[in-house]
Symmetry: C2
Subunit: 188 residues, 2 copies
């Protein structure tokens, strides 16, 4: 197997495990089991666990960029695009129920560990933030575009956290609806 392929599979499985178990809890043995390679072989691809974390964050960045591009292609208006963002809570409902928001839980964990990569993880938030900001700007909100962007990112985070805690579908749907109403009244 080529080097790149193995590397990609390591990053993919590490990504899943970091999300499902947390970074600290996930060991090389866990990742090796999932990928199907030996423990010692890791250091031919990554020089440390932190190195894998960096690769995982890069991967999430790229995947997020791709998703945002997809949304732009699939929609007609900026308001509709913001709707796509709000809708992730529903689209990823099953995973959020178990593991929370991948971005929020990782930044929180890395922040506690005082890990250097915390800022990198927060950049995924920034990706959404700036993209949403652009949508609000296109809607005509020149001054408060960034403020609105942060607002719905924050609210989504809160909903994800509480949904993970309570696993209450009614709450999730209600809040998603509420955010969409907020967006609608903003437009009007």
């Amino acid at each position: 197997m080529g080097k790149q392929e193995t590397r990609d599979r390591i990053v993919e499985k590490a990504d899943d495990l970091f999300y499902q178990q947390g970074f600290e809890k996930t060991s090389f043995a866990d990742i090796a089991d999932q990928v199907g390679i030996s423990r010692g072989n890791f250091y031919h691809h990554f020089k440390s666990k932190d190195d894998i974390l960096t690769a995982v964050i890069d991967r999430r960045m790229e995947k997020t960029k791709g998703m945002l591009k997809d949304w732009e292609r699939e929609t007609q208006s900026p308001a509709e695009r913001i709707g796509c963002y709000i809708q992730i809570l529903i689209a990823n409902q099953a995973k959020i129920r178990l593991y929370g928001c991948p971005v929020g839980t990782l930044t929180a964990e890395l922040s506690k560990l005082d890990h250097l990569a915390q800022e990198d993880a927060a950049r995924i938030f920034t990706l959404f933030r700036n993209w949403l900001k652009r949508q609000f700007q296109q809607m005509g909100f020149t001054d408060r575009a960034d403020e609105h962007a942060l607002h719905i990112v924050g609210r989504s985070q809160g909903v994800a956290t509480l949904y993970q805690a309570y696993k209450d579908d009614t709450y999730l749907n209600k809040e998603v609806q509420d955010m969409k109403s907020w967006l609608a009244t903003l437009t009007a």
Copy 2:
């Protein structure tokens, strides 16, 4: 030193460390160093690490109950009491900046670990939820009291998460103000 005193000091320090570093990351050695006792001595007070976690959650429950009682004593109206809750974000600003919300981050971590105590941790949320619900009921919201309670708990969570990620004081203040405005329009 009496048994109860040592036990209390262990729980107190463990509480801090679980908050600051996370449960998984915190070892017996960490706690022992903070308390100033030997590692082996732990098992005279707790039979496992999970046992300490249970004690820490109990402690947080009691402290939360005390805080809610304080708020009831210090205030005149239910709306003012809800204001106290919103204000925690400001009161605990310095800690939230570094470690996030103690309740939200713990439940998220335990949920990923598939830990039995996850439900116990979520009960601290319920403490706030039911208390807020009662305040909303006293304000006259009979039907939507619980809904409103969950709403502001969720929003606070989101603000805490994003504040921990960005450490942006302007955002924090803006969102706190926004929640207070929401409360005010609800009253009107």
